[in-house]
Amino acid sequence: MRIGLLTEGGYPFVSGDAGLWCDRLVRGLEQHEFDIHALSRSRRQRDEGFVPLPPQARRVRTAPLWTAEDDGVAHGRRARRRFTECYAELVAAVCAGAEAGSGTGPDTGPEAGSADLADRFANALYGLAELAREEGGLVGALRSDAAVRTLERACRAPGALRTAHEARVPDLLTVATHLERALRPLSLDWYDEDGLGAADLCHATAGGTAALPGLVARHFAGVPLLVTEYGVQLRTHYLTLGPDTAAPAVRALLASFHGRLTAEVYRRAEVLTPGNAHARRWQERCGADRSRIRTVYPGMADARFTEVGECPDRSDPDTLVWVGRVEPAKDLFSLLHAFAEVRKEEPGARLRIVGAPAGPEGEAYLGHCRALAAQLFPDEADGVHAVGDNPVSFERIGGPEVPTLPDAYASGAVVVLSSVVEGFPIGLIEAMFCGRATVSTDAGAVVEVIGGTGLVVPPRNPRALAEACVALLRDPERRERLGAAARARALELFTVEQNIAAFHGIYLEIVSHCPVRRVLLDDAGDPLPFATPAESRIPGRWTGPTVRPLPRAVPAWATGAPVRATPPTAAEGAR
């Protein structure tokens, strides 16, 4: 199959987010061809170039999202009128507010009105895409005075958001500029027969703007869309566009726009693959159909943990280990207080905190933690002649005690996680791969990851944390059982192979359910049967000397009266 991989500020660029995952995906599915379509976020990112690409990455097309460059396309009068009509519809749907239509939940206002607004938004979006395809780029038009005037009219219209009524001229300009950037994928030349139009499947690696080319390709060529979200784009948008970044009107309008765009992506995507239950809940909340959501956990390379996980436990049975980046959200204070409780029960217990501080804030936090540890636990020595040592040690990966990450996990009998805020806990999965018993706080996706293979306590509860730790420290057999179960669970759910196999299956499922119906004709205008097999795209020609793809045109033989070869019921069933 030919997969159109859509990324934004991500994969093929050296400094992209989520690059590792995409790289593994492309390398893992070498039986498919990948056309990578990447949107770059900054000049620096573009100039840094690409990571080395495997041969199945057939081509890479990039487009900048950051330039203020005008494409110099001047539309005619009719195109301008069409643009104004579409844009007016779009911003009218945006100004009506996100609440009116973002969710399909029971408590989001009148259902019919919201569906109508979503349809208006979608139609306007595709109208703009068609305009861009027929008349050339929209960058100039989206920045023009006509666009700003249309936006102002929509904001002042009755029924618009209350905050939108307050929008002043600078706010309108900011919104128009932002919309121009967000809609820039519409103006790209990616949708022709050579680009995304020829793909069997579009795989967007994020929602929002990254998935917009997929929506357009779906609209033009019927290419099914798969959207993978490891972090919900809409949520990221809310967090980055905080109260101090812009005026309320700007934030309200942009939130509404992104809400609508996200809802449209979720509505049109054939399959959504959130990375965890949290992303899944956001997707459901924003109107995704439950039946089309498949959670695909991110995969991690497990080879380096195999040795630690398979070998019998050589660790000090009294040692607790915490591994991670030191920052306030990890709540090490709570861990230290809990460890004080543990020491009351188990005087020989030790705690190793392994990790580097994250940024200056983490640096300061680590200092506070050291101070607290020194206060809570005086140095201890074996006898009057020995040099003392603190039961809590702060170490870094690469130091003499812990040369590698697996060593850090191997050095403890119990791995502790004390975060109050957590996304997808990578450290916990690593500990599971290492076959360690874990005690973690119930934050983020911890419960989902650990299943029943470790202990979970409420966050900010040192006493509960201490009790769980003591229970595990006193029971080596239970530790072993939990560790083995955790490793088995991690190998089942969080390996790279699992991730790639899941995507492979989903690709085949999508293509079998909604194949792109292309008719390939030979020179004489006769259709070529089996010219586009779903399962493989063979390089070179194999069905004839010249094959012309005609995806949308009706061939000559099809204009006559239909000849029914099979009973209609069978034809219905085949669909």
């Binding site: 203020a68 460059e69 005037r149 307050e166 001229v169 600078p170 300009l173 809400g259 805020v421």
Partner: protein, 461 residues
């Protein structure tokens, strides 16, 4: 785990799906917590709920409806967990009685987030960033964070307080660097003219060549910084090569064109220009010197225009307001430049004891200023067109009489001859540049008074 239990009951009694049930839920919890003061009190939340609250069963029945197990115990850490959801808040030491409704405490803690949020999902995202999970939301009698966020969003009073922060694009500042740079071309041109006046014989062509080169470089530098340069980091303002060539031609014509035209009309030219105003091919140094000196007032005018437009942008409520306010600003800017250029022409004319050539100088100056203003504000097409048209007109004016010398083509000379006979050689550049400047002025009135010409190039990401 208590979280799981609480979540189940939360989902169960949220069957009606409205957000109003949370406050009665809080009441129920208040009533069922042992030791809570069981006395009637006015509802502390928003008012519409107090009619509803009366419809709920009395507290004894409520305690039966909600299993006591679902209520977090009033002592111990899990209550503290429920109420201390912010990451920086240390849990309060005293066990809190359930007398106040728990959502209100949460609202108090996240008041700023809730007040400034533009929709419930933003509150949900903020709460999650502070570590509130679905299980924590269940302790507030909510199915998930989203419905909790909806209640918070609905309960926060947002009576449209006007926001003070008008985040207008920043007004550009006057910097010594570009002020000095804009003075440089004029100074170099003056030096060159002085050198030409003083030098005789061999060094004159060298002085002229060096001076031209220096002035060109200085002009280029002056246009790269300050208000005549557009926003840094973007390439949208960059002049196309065609427009640049046209500008050079126009300036060259201002220097030599009238003499050339005169020579062509009278059968010449026979010699190269000597750089003096009274040769067979005279050069008009005064107007070109005034134009190079006018770089400084042009930059100031552009600065005033940009700064004034930004200020009006921040102050105007609608696009119509802005257009109405920007129009006089544009006319004022152009008039100011006209005045400055006239003064400079007068000055140069007197100093060099030449004809100041007001029509050519003024029309060309206006044309260049308007073209630059438009280019700086992302309108590249029209300036290139106008400059090209003026250039073509001037080139034709020279080429047609020259071509008229060919046998049988004498009729080609007629239009130029008519114009020159009527108004003199100066009429050709004045007409060409004046018409182009006028059309650009009309274009500028339409485009530069629109807000999109003054849009910031960066968007919040």
């Amino acid at each position: 785990m208590s979280g799981r239990r609480a979540q189940d009951t939360g989902a169960g009694h949220r069957g009606d799906g409205t957000r109003e049930d949370a406050v009665p839920g809080g009441d129920r919890r208040a009533a069922s917590v042992p030791g809570a003061p069981d006395r009637p009190r006015t509802p502390s939340g928003a008012d519409p709920w107090d009619q509803r609250a009366g419809e709920w069963p009395p507290p004894e029945e409520t305690a039966v409806t909600v299993p006591p197990a679902a209520v977090p115990p009033p002592r111990g850490p899990s209550v503290r967990t429920a109420q201390g959801a912010g990451p920086r808040e240390r849990p309060a030491p005293a066990p809190r009685r359930g007398a106040v409704d728990p959502v209100k405490a949460l609202l108090h803690r996240h008041r700023e987030l809730c007040e400034r949020a533009v929709d419930p999902l933003e509150i949900a995202a903020g709460l999650e960033a502070h570590g509130v999970t679905d299980r924590a939301a269940a302790r507030f009698r909510h199915r998930d964070v989203f419905s909790l966020a909806e209640e918070l969003y609905a309960r926060v009073p947002r009576d449209g307080e006007p926001h003070q922060d008008t985040d207008a694009p920043p007004v550009p500042r006057v910097r010594a660097r570009w002020v000095l740079l804009t003075l440089l071309p004029g100074a170099l041109a003056a030096a060159t003219v002085a050198g030409l006046r003083l030098a005789h014989g061999q060094p004159r062509p060298l002085v002229a060549l060096g001076g031209l080169l220096a002035v060109a470089l200085a002009t280029r530098a002056a246009l790269r910084r300050g208000p005549l340069s557009g926003e840094p980091g973007t390439r949208a303002w960059r002049t196309s090569n065609g427009a640049r060539a046209c500008t050079l031609w126009l300036l060259g014509y201002a220097l030599l064109g009238d003499g050339l035209l005169h020579a062509v009309m009278t059968g010449g030219p026979d010699t190269l220009p000597t750089g003096t105003p009274d040769g067979p091919w005279p050069t008009a140094c005064a107007s070109v010197l005034a134009l190079t000196l006018a770089c400084a007032p042009a930059a100031w005018c552009a600065h005033l225009f940009t700064a004034g437009a930004r200020r009006r942008l921040a102050g105007s409520r609608g696009l119509e307001d802005f257009a109405a306010a920007a129009k006089p600003l544009l006319f004022g800017t152009v008039t100011l430049f006209f005045g400055a250029l006239t003064a400079l022409l007068l000055l140069c004319g007197t100093a060099l004891r030449e004809d100041a050539a007001y029509p050519q100088g003024l029309s060309l100056g206006a044309l260049l200023l308007l073209a630059r203003l438009l280019v700086v504000h992302h309108r590249r097409h029209a300036p290139a067109l106008a400059l090209g048209a003026a250039t073509a007109a001037e080139a034709m004016a020279v080429a047609l009489p020259a071509a008229g010398r060919l046998p049988g083509c004498a009729f080609l000379t007629t239009p130029v001859e008519t114009v020159v006979n009527a108004w003199g050689e100066a009429a050709v550049p004045a007409l060409a540049c004046g018409a182009a400047a006028l059309s650009l002025l009309l274009h500028a009135v339409r485009t530069l008074t629109g807000a999109s010409a003054h849009a910031p190039s960066g968007a919040p990401e």
